[in-house]
């Protein structure tokens, strides 16, 4: 047992193969476009909105479809049920997510150039925690929007949590909430890190 950990620790302190470094470097590069593309996408459909409404969550902003107007429209509709206006300024996530992504990119670059196999594990562990925490944070935020409805609103609805992942009926709207391109880039980031780790680990344990 002790040997296994010893062996693992020894392996983790070894340096990476060139191929692994390239994969880890590519992983770091994956993070750059995440600043410019949406991470998450919520789609709303109702009979009288045949083209639907779209809401895109970027790492730093909330942007509605139809040149931003869909967000205005969502807020106009929400005012009838007394929901507070969805406003990018009120989402602290949109401030710290870009910061953390930047930090992850720096850590990944460090791993690619001077890191050991262990530093890949460090980046994977931090990223995984960051991803789960971000999703939970958004879930919590949306849930508090849906549960803190103005009691004087013209339309009474039961408190609800908008979907964070998957499909849900909210009033007359069908709402879908799914990861968008930015999240796929994060997934790719993770897969490249794992691949980087895997190739070096396999090589070291062959010898």
């Amino acid at each position: 047992m002790k040997d296994i950990f010893q062996n693992l620790t020894n392996t983790l302190s070894k340096s990476m193969s060139m191929q692994s470094r390239i994969l880890v470097l590519l992983a770091a590069l994956m993070l750059i476009p995440t600043f410019f593309v949406p991470l998450w996408r919520m789609s709303f459909w109702a009979q009288q909105y045949p083209e639907g409404l779209e809401l895109y969550i970027y790492s730093h902003n909330l942007i509605g479809g139809d040149d931003g107007n869909d967000l205005t429209e969502i807020n106009v509709l929400n005012h009838y049920i007394g929901m507070a206006e969805l406003n990018a300024e009120d989402f602290t996530e949109l401030k710290w997510i870009p910061l953390i992504v930047g930090l992850l990119a720096v850590l990944t670059l460090r791993a690619a150039f001077i890191g050991t196999l262990g530093s890949i594990i460090d980046v994977i562990a931090i990223s995984g925690y960051f991803a789960l925490f971000s999703v939970w944070s958004f879930y919590y935020k949306l849930s508090s929007y849906g549960h803190n409805l103005d009691p004087k609103a013209s339309v009474d609805v039961a408190p609800f949590t908008p979907p964070v992942f998957g499909h849900k009926m909210v009033g007359q709207f069908e709402v879908w909430s799914y990861p968008a391109f930015g999240s796929y880039l994060f997934a790719m980031f993770g897969l490249l890190l794992i691949a980087g780790f895997y190739f070096s680990f396999k090589k070291l344990n062959k010898k």
Binding site: N69, Y80, F181, Y184, M188, L191, A195, F199
Partner: protein
């Protein structure tokens, strides 16, 4: 191992690429325009075939827009072809509370104090002889006006009234690059306008006017180019030349007897001569006359006198009391229809040019040369009784409406190999219900008509629909002209009273459905407000000015307090940026009803001349809480 590694390395990269492609491949929504797959009527009846040919399923869209003139309703009606469904009414010369037209300051000023007009002949702007879908022009036969509708938002942007014109009927015909749109006097009056002269002096004191209005190539703004002083005929319909006839404009004239005998009945006195005329204007010569100073400014208009500026206008003899003159798609054949003659006459523009060059004139009227009929005529076609107007299919065929016969006659355009029996070029006739005036084919005035649909615009429709009492609507019949045989597909009925209509391929028109806050195409309204913080009421002496916004489902401000006798100016901005979220603003008992489209600002100015408390409310249903969208106008 190395090979295996490479394979996996490539696999990872390709996964990446595939993922990006999947995301990038999520395109926009599929267009619903068009009519799905071609239906197969199989062995079924003509009715079933017609039903399938005109059926546009719920949610699907028509292939063509049809813009009808609304006649003395003063409007333009918009329908889809082939369904013939009425989609919208564009108010032009008449106030229309449905869209708040004529209630706000801007449109009220545009109507110029008139409460009606007689819209007759819509015409599309053209680029290189093709409809370009930018503007629709329409004339007012009653007040001598012409209007320009912007096809981006289907709204009137300009109504122009020019001096000296009386009853503008020979309008709105447009040159192939929208250089000019025509106007013409239908009922001659003493010249200059406003002059008094008794009808006993008709032959000498009364005059007609032909005019060309310039169209600004960017904005579409209309300005008067020139007027030509003409003999006291009635100038009827017109068309602009294209191709070899580009540069010419044509109008038919009746009452070349040039008389109006009190009690003598114009229907009799104007039908005495065997031939009347086509008046043909060479607009480049008119431009030259203007730049050479050969004009007089009369009532602000540059008027050309034909006897002083030779070469600007000619007359071409044409069978008795003509109505339509229409230029074939290739621009060579000028087709004139004498409504009291059972023939339609085809003239050849090449022969016309030759006659002008050789001064081959048979007469002169008030200094205007009359071209020798036999030299310019190509053929007389015995189309039938009461020919009025001709359209084309782009396959060398012409379609002439026969008012008296209640039919459409299809015939072959020249060139003809054998001219011994002209009835041989008549291909087919189809009866219509009833008494057809104009007809229109798809893109029929362009240089390349589509040749699939024809709409017969009939004056009478008795017995073809559920009875609505004596005020019987007009009928518009859709006819399939794509095959060898014309086929009647559909009867549609319209409000009074379409004269002419024009049909354009739907995808040529690019509309906006919301006035986007930052769209540079629309001028910024200085009185627009976009937030409740900007909403305010200001008083200066006895003038009260209100900047109001409308949004689902409230007005801000929602209370306006004034004193009796105050002048009140209210600017309402609909701050919605969502399509179909229109708001109304009506003040009860004050005869005010604005309808403000998303992103639009409208202003109304009025005197608070009744004291008391008046509700104002949203008239255009907007939301679940539309009924609550109201406020109070308090007059102390």
């Amino acid at each position: 191992m190395k090979g295996l590694f490479k394979t996996r390395f490539i696999a990872v990269l390709s996964m990446l690429i595939v993922a990006s492609l999947i995301v990038a491949g999520c395109g926009g929504p599929k267009s619903k325009r068009g009519r799905g797959g071609s239906a197969n009527p199989g062995q079924s009846s003509d009715k079933v075939a017609a039903a399938l040919a005109t059926y546009v399923a719920p949610g699907d869209m028509d292939e063509y827009y049809l813009f009808y003139s609304g006649g003395h309703s003063g409007q333009v009606f918009v329908a889809g072809v082939p369904s013939m469904r009425h989609i919208a009414t564009i108010p032009v010369f008449t106030p229309y509370p449905g869209t708040g037209y004529g209630f706000d300051d801007e449109t009220k000023a545009m109507l110029g104090g008139y409460s009606w007009g007689d819209s007759h002949h819509p015409g599309f702007s053209e680029t290189d002889g093709e409809y370009d879908g930018r503007w629709l022009f329409i004339n007012d036969n009653a007040q001598g006006r012409i209007a320009r509708i912007d096809l981006r938002d289907f709204k009137v942007k300009q109504i122009v009234s020019i001096p000296n014109i009386s009853a503008n009927h020979g309008s709105s015909f447009i040159t192939p690059n929208s250089e000019y749109v025509t106007m013409a006097t239908r009922m001659s009056v003493p010249f200059p306008e406003g002059t008094y002269a008794d009808v006993t002096e008709y032959a000498t004191k009364y005059q007609g006017i032909l005019a060309g209005l310039k169209i600004h190539p960017k904005t579409g703004d209309l300005t008067l180019g020139w007027e030509i002083l003409m003999p006291p005929f009635n100038y009827d319909l017109g068309d602009a030349g294209k191709g070899p006839s580009h540069g010419f404009m044509f109008w038919t004239c009746y009452n070349s007897e040039r008389e109006f005998i009190e009690g003598g009945k114009l229907e009799i006195t104007a039908s005495q001569r065997d031939k009347d005329y086509i008046a043909m204007v060479d607009y480049r010569e008119a431009e030259k006359a203007i730049s050479a100073g050969k004009f007089k400014t009369v009532k602000g208009a540059k008027v050309i006198y034909p006897d002083k500026a030779k070469g600007v206008v000619y007359l071409i003899p044409l069978g008795k009391s003509p109505h339509g003159v229409d230029v074939s798609p290739d621009g060579r054949w000028i087709v004139g229809s004498g409504k009291l003659s059972p023939t339609t006459t085809v003239f050849d523009i090449e022969k016309i040019k030759k006659a002008i060059a050789e001064k081959d004139f048979e007469d002169e009227v008030d200094g205007i040369p009359v071209l020798t009929y036999n030299s310019v005529r190509e053929a007389e076609i015995p189309v039938g009784l009461g020919p009025l107007h001709t359209q084309f299919d782009g396959r060398g065929n012409a379609y002439t409406s026969l008012f008296v016969e209640s039919a459409v006659c299809k015939w072959k355009l020249p060139p003809y190999e054998d001219k011994s029996d002209m009835s041989s070029v008549i291909l087919e006739k189809i009866p219509v219900a009833y008494n057809i005036g104009h007809l229109v084919t798809a893109e029929g005035d362009s240089k390349s008509p589509d040749g699939n649909y024809l709409v017969a615009l009939n004056k009478l429709s008795k017995g073809r629909h559920l009875s609505v009492g004596p005020s019987i609507p007009e009928s518009a019949q859709l006819i399939d002209i794509s095959g060898d045989k014309m086929k009647l597909l559909y009867d549609a009925f319209t409000e009074p009273e379409p004269h002419y209509a024009v049909m354009i391929k739907a995808d040529k028109i690019k509309t906006v459905e919301v006035y986007k806050k930052d769209d540079p195409y629309w001028h910024k309204n200085p009185n627009a407000i976009w937030s409740a913080e900007e909403a305010r009421i200001e008083r200066k002496g006895k003038n009260v000015e209100v900047w109001m916004l409308a949004v689902r489902s409230y007005f801000a401000p929602d209370v306006i307090r004034v004193n009796k006798g105050d002048t009140v100016k209210i600017h309402v901005t609909n701050i919605e940026q969502t399509r179909d979220e229109l708001h109304g603003f009506a003040i009860d008992n004050y005869d005010i009803n604005l309808v403000i489209d998303p992103g639009e600002t409208k202003t109304v100015t009025f005197k608070a001349n009744k004291s008391g408390v008046y509700a104002f409310y949203c008239t255009n249903f907007c939301s679940a809480l539309h009924q609550e969208m109201q406020g109070y106008f308090l007059v102390k």
